[in-house]
């Protein structure tokens, strides 16, 4: 009796299993030809690029949904955006922008000069929560003489002004919808907000009333997949068509051999640094900083922590930039010289220092390798792993309680951070500050290039930090997809040119 009964139970269990299997089959994925699924590792907190620093916000909305007066393209060149053109006064302190005609916001409101005035004044206001308020620092006043013209007066010439206006933090919003942009973004771009499922995805659809050329894609779906093995599975299963920044570089090999996929290796604006806290007396001695620079083998870190993806650098500048100077020779790997410099500085008996590492693999993986390299020259490193929240409060702000940290500075053209006296690494050089001031006043490209070269040289000679490598952009896309960015001059996933072959 029992036997029979148990058998029946089992039958029921297996039958349930069979039903489940049938249902699995019924829920297969479908792929329309004009839809694009984009995978991202980090989820944006909200969707308003004027109220948050998270790169993930721009990676969804920049160029796709929101537009600024200018825009930055794949090569890092400044192009006209909502302004079709501009005139710069002789003293380079007045910019007159001509706005495009017939532009409207996604809610139907028309785009006018007053919107530009409103957007910039909102970003500059006292209670503004713009994460890049510094972009607007040079602006003295914004005026709108007529609907199609904006005149911006600067306090002083600002060589990067047009570039600054191309950032996601400087996009143009409409007064009526600005406060709701975090959850219901209303922009002027070729795609408009459809819906968001927090923790899963953001969907955008084609804006039929777009002022420019209509995009090939009818819809964009950004899917957020933090786990690196789940990212690989999602690409292999066809759930996402492009994953511009994959979490684990060692997984790229399996895509290279597969004709269904293209591996994209591009450059980013991320200068990865071994930061030395120059508020510590020890690191105010240039010989100590130089010793540590010579002790570190950059290529070994790129190979060991980043699977070979990344370019060693010698100063705080991106190799793909026209003004880049190769200074990797200044602090070539030379443990003997490092030991000598340490002995000269009076630390021949060795040092014991603390390295605080944020979560990214370049930091956690790179930190282990650097600790071993420093041990070889007599420096014992205690590694302390911290989360971003803790890194920001303990290392970046607050008491700056660290000796070393590793971090990638991903803002474009951010060499100017070395002029900030309150900045967390505490670098201070009057010579460098003078060069940077000169750059701000210099408009001609050749003069600027020369000055940027000079600035890079000062940082390298000073061993201001250990400049490790330029972070690579390692991604995968469907081989049938074209028109997407290879490099990332700004943190964005501009899908306006993407199309299926």
């Amino acid at each position: 009796m029992i036997k029979k009964n148990a058998g029946r139970w089992l039958c029921a269990a297996w039958a349930t299993g069979a039903v489940l299997t049938v249902m699995l089959g019924a829920a297969g994925p479908t792929l329309a030809k004009d839809a694009l699924n984009i995978g991202m590792g980090l989820e944006p907190p909200h969707l308003d690029p004027t109220a948050g620093a998270a790169a993930a916000i721009d990676e969804v909305v920049y160029a796709n949904l929101f537009e600024g007066l200018t825009r930055i393209d794949e090569t890092g060149t400044v192009r006209p955006g909502l302004a079709s053109g501009w005139e710069i006064s002789a003293d380079r302190k007045t910019y007159t922008f001509t706005l495009r005609d017939g532009v409207s916001f996604h809610d139907g409101a028309s785009f006018e000069a007053s919107d530009v005035k409103y957007s910039f004044e909102r970003a500059m206001a006292e209670d503004s929560t713009n994460a890049q308020k510094g972009l607007f620092e040079a602006i003295d006043s914004v005026s709108a003489p007529d609907d199609g013209t904006v005149v911006i007066a600067l306090k002083r010439p600002e060589g990067n002004f047009l570039w600054n206006m191309g950032w996601g933090d400087a996009i143009i919003v409409d007064p009526a919808s600005a406060d709701g942009n975090k959850t219901n973004p209303i922009g002027t771009g070729p795609f408009k907000f459809e819906r968001r499922v927090e923790g899963d995805r953001v969907q955008l659809t084609r804006n039929a009333d777009y002022w420019g050329a209509a995009p090939a894609m009818a819809s964009l779906t950004f899917k957020f997949i933090p786990d690196s093995s789940a990212q690989v599975a999602a690409v292999l299963a066809g759930d996402v068509d492009i994953f511009p920044n994959m979490g684990a570089p060692e997984t790229l090999g399996q895509f290279e051999a597969d004709p269904r996929f293209n591996v994209i290796i591009g450059t980013t604006e991320g200068e990865t640094l071994l930061v030395m806290n120059q508020r510590r007396e020890l690191f105010q001695d240039k010989r100590v900083r130089q010793a540590i620079s010579h002790a570190v083998d950059k290529q070994a870190i790129v190979d060991g922590a980043m699977f070979g993806y990344g370019t060693p650098i010698g100063s705080h500048f991106a190799p793909h930039n026209a003004a880049y100077v190769d200074l990797t020779g200044v602090a070539a790997h030379d443990p003997e010289k490092a030991k000598q410099l340490l002995a000269d500085a009076g630390h021949g008996e060795g040092l014991k220092l603390v390295m605080k590492l944020p979560p990214p693999r370049y930091a956690r993986g790179g930190g282990e390798i650097i600790a071993a390299q420093l041990r070889a020259v007599g420096i014992e490193v205690e590694i302390v792993n911290v989360e971003w929240a803790q890194w920001l409060s303990d290392v970046f702000k607050g008491n700056h309680d660290f000796d070393f940290t590793i971090v990638s500075h991903t803002e474009p053209l951010d060499i100017g951070i070395y002029t900030r006296k309150e900045y967390y690494f505490g670098y201070d050089s009057a010579e460098f500050d003078a060069v940077m001031d000169e750059i701000k006043e210099t408009a001609d490209p050749e003069g600027r290039t020369a000055l940027y070269g000079k600035a890079q040289q000062i940082l390298a000679d000073d061993a201001a930090n250990v400049f490790l490598f330029q972070l690579a952009k390692t991604g995968v896309k469907s081989s049938k997809l074209s028109g997407t960015w290879e490099n990332a001059p700004i943190q964005a996933n501009d899908m306006t040119g993407a199309s299926w072959q």
């Binding site: 009796m1 029992i2 009964n5 148990a6 139970w9 089992l10 029921a12 269990a13 349930t16 489940l20 249902m23 699995l24 019924a26 829920a27 297969g28 994925p29 989820e43 907190p45 909200h46 109220a51 948050g52 620093a53 998270a54 006292e126 209670d127 503004s128 929560t129 713009n130 994460a131 890049q132 308020k133 510094g134 975090k182 959850t183 499922v197 927090e198 923790g199 899963d200 995805r201 899917k223 957020f224 997949i225 933090p226 786990d227 093995s229 789940a230 599975a233 999602a234 292999l236 299963a237 066809g238 759930d239 971003w388 929240a389 803790q390 920001l392 409060s393 970046f396 702000k397 803002e411």
Partner: protein, 315 residues
Amino acid sequence: MLGFLAHRALGMLGALFVASLVVFIVLDILPGDPALLMLGIDATPEALAALRAEMGLDLSAIERYLGWIGGVLRADFGTSLTYDVPVITLIQDRLSVTLPLAIMSFILAVVISLPLGLFAATRQNRPGDYMTMGFSQIGLAIPNFWFGILLILVFAIQLQWVSAGGFPGWEEGWLAALGALMLPSIALAMSEAAILTRMVRASALDCYREDYVRTARAKGLGERAVLWRHVLRNMMIPVLTLMGLQFAFLVAGAVIVENVFYLPGLGRLLLQAIFQRDLVVVQNVILLLAALVVLVNFTVDVLAAWIDPRPKVLR
């Protein structure tokens, strides 16, 4: 029974109060500034101060605690610091993934383990028993996230029957939604079923050894009646307690499997909120989970009292 219920209800409230205090204090001690995280490394001090005021972080700890509890009592759970949407909608959205997932895995685990455990118990020390226990040992040894990855490899990548993860949402139709939850629920159910099978078998064996079973058999009751009337009822109390624990775990502890299948569940919401220092979300989600565990325990106690109404469980 009424006194028992009142007593338990008071205990529940006390537990929730303590949980709220512990959560708040721990979060207050935790280093990290939500405003700084939101605005990043280039933020100006004024922008940070403005955001802190907007987030209510410039108030004292006591003011913030009272504000939170006062809100909860009025069913107002506040607004997420990072997402800028009401916490209650966030939790509802996540529960619409996590609860069905927990219920599906729970049903699956029960449907597998009850018959298997009873089957093994009735065949103690015979091949059927050894096989069942062998399977359960394997089920225990396999980590659920690894089993999940295996399922993805077979059903999503090789066969391409399902997506590798994600959740389309219930508005895309219940079939699509259930389909997305199928693999994760199997991955989650596996080890739960393995544990439960062993528990069912052990409890059933204990009951079979009891005098009342011998008496029942002696008075000529068939094996089926012995199982249904005597064994099943008596063995259910320890099994029920374990089931309660397992259900609470499935709701609160599925975060690793949620990550493997990138499901927008409650566990991932909590994890992300901790990293983002979204204190409002963390506080309320933990309070909700505490309430849920308390509620599940309460239900188990009531069920146990109903199955076995002898006074000892009414303590």
